[in-house]
Symmetry: C2
Subunit: 428 residues, 2 copies
Amino acid sequence: MPATVESLFAERTKWMRASDVREILKYAEMPGIISLGGGLPSPDSFPLEDLAVIFEELLKEKNAGAFQYGPTPGDARLRAALVERLKTRGVAVETEGVIVTHGAQQAIELLGRVLLDPGDTVVTTEPTYLGIFTALATYRPSYHGIRMDDEGLLTDVLEDDLRSLDRKGVRPKFLYVVPTFHNPAGVTMSARRRRRLADLATEYRVLVVEDDPYYDLRFEGEDLPPVASLDKEGWVISVGSFSKILAPGFRVGWAAGHPDVIGKMSLAKQGVDLFTNSFGQRVAERYLRLGMLDRHLPQVRAMYRRKRDLMLAAMEEHFPEGVSWTRPQGGMFLWVTLPSGVDTRPLLPRAAERGVVFVPGHGFFPGPPEANHMRLNYSYPSEADIPRAIEALGGVLTEATGPMAAPAVGRASSARAPRPPRPRRPRC
Amino acid sequence: MPATVESLFAERTKWMRASDVREILKYAEMPGIISLGGGLPSPDSFPLEDLAVIFEELLKEKNAGAFQYGPTPGDARLRAALVERLKTRGVAVETEGVIVTHGAQQAIELLGRVLLDPGDTVVTTEPTYLGIFTALATYRPSYHGIRMDDEGLLTDVLEDDLRSLDRKGVRPKFLYVVPTFHNPAGVTMSARRRRRLADLATEYRVLVVEDDPYYDLRFEGEDLPPVASLDKEGWVISVGSFSKILAPGFRVGWAAGHPDVIGKMSLAKQGVDLFTNSFGQRVAERYLRLGMLDRHLPQVRAMYRRKRDLMLAAMEEHFPEGVSWTRPQGGMFLWVTLPSGVDTRPLLPRAAERGVVFVPGHGFFPGPPEANHMRLNYSYPSEADIPRAIEALGGVLTEATGPMAAPAVGRASSARAPRPPRPRRPRC
């Protein structure tokens, strides 16, 4: 008789849920499916020739340090290289203010671990990167969402809400934001709003977690200052990753900011996994130090720009009236809004039947979800597949929004009241 | 003015402490110091030629999967290879019963996350691997220690204690044990005790976490059955690692056992870091599948045997009367016991002055610590350094235990009552 282990689980385990994106992977693995659902970089973007050079060097290194245990906050040379790189963006941190993590996801988990008591408030954009919900679930925060438009987070709304929270005695522990090429929304926060956000962080003494993994993937427009570069007092923690600019397989991310916060994250990480894999850290350090990243980025940007353009052109051609979408200047995602009342979830199996999958927008909301969105990724599918996938998806959307759409729309909207009409400005 | 972030920290953060071993690293990094303190494999044990072959293959692999995101429970081929490897030890698990983790440390953290509510009881040996204290700290268990002798965990005491805990309505969530070449004690649990432990796990419905990272490093005596191989109902979770048999730098470990427990760990890991670095997983999988591990292990065993022998011989020569130690048949550590009343902590700076560091035994105890032990590592120091280090340490021990030792002994023992005399059998 096999053991019944149910009774051993902790209370928190009963509330654990798989993220929607991971669930969608089961469709994505079906043969012949084109996935616009994941958040994967193109395998063609991996700098394999540079990696061959780096691997050879690491195998010859004295004491084979790339293969040995390493210090918890990260390899000293990689931390120093990250300090230098952040400096080029106007972000001033000391080496003690940098921790290397097992991906940016771990940086967020560690921030939750050191900052959050049950019931503490976390402010996010609405929608937001959904990985934070699983990263922070153990620490049971309550979320407060702030809407966005095409200039990103609505800082006026944020100010009002911070003020009214303050009146109620609520001081949010942190505000999580993806300012550049937002995941899932594809929009970028304007310089003006970034400045305002930095000022509000100081005024309300709220830590801003600036998750900026796509910063280097701008293929249009000018670089904008990171919120951390506008912060005078140390209220911003920068989170970044090598997953989108080198390769996800090495699982190297980082957090940088106030050394007291980073120090506590390091103490927490010691218990969690002792240190981030040394091999990946050494690879990342060489990739930065030998100038390989800066030589490689233009190719990646050009590749993603072509893919975005192919996707936008196909959407113009195949998506029906009443559907709108964001036009990202970089990164990997765009966000599609259907007429209110259309739920994108039941469209997923229909799209899969036609050979394409996407992520319904539902899971990206910290509060009550809006059902009429979807996130599309253009970095992973091939240039040949993008027009085909969008054409197939366009067929599904035409059915769902056209005059014959009543059954699906009816079912989808039955669970919630119809939403008020949208403002003309594209919403995210 | 820099931000004061103190007020943002969670309650749990106030209790975070660095582990003693990590603190000792500051001595180990001083120039000219020989460290017997860490738990590092010898850099000479890393199979660099095999790795060169593997790296070349991974760079040529279709779709460059070693560099891409991967599934949360781990690479399917690595999980299948681990199922096969565990089968050779008599441990039967399905692929769904295996999760790949970012080192064995993360496996323990995830077990704490899915199993422990505050105040839950965890049973450990006394002493025990100290990394579990930091791994589980967030989940605030209470510990119940069980003594060992040279056959490992005292299963008779365990049975008595499980019975009396049961009478008090306490059902421990799990029992953590390192059965083979115990860290820090260097002893191995006998086959008889292993069988008894498996039976008690079933009888008392207590999960056993069998952490067995040194299993393959036996250089003397015969392999003993893992506790998991003696378990009929799924009450044992096997934890393992490539850190000691391949290289720590890839940070690949695993847990295997009841699919319901492994499934919850996987759900937890999704939030924690999404997946373990794909590159390290692919390296580990090739290393197993191409037979490289089995070809390589005899060299590592021979190397560590020579080092252990050098250390034991030097200890016989240089350690004073009244000091005893364990004689490990494998693994990386031995455990030294000084006369009761001697505290090894104040000896550490004196040893460092003479060019050698060790780990005081203090930090390895789940309950009230015994101060008169130290852990020595023989895998990392060179063959030339081992006799020198032991001679220097012998000098320190001779001073501390000799007739002139009063001041140090007095200071050290002042904090706690003298302990009762030891049984004659070497205790761990």
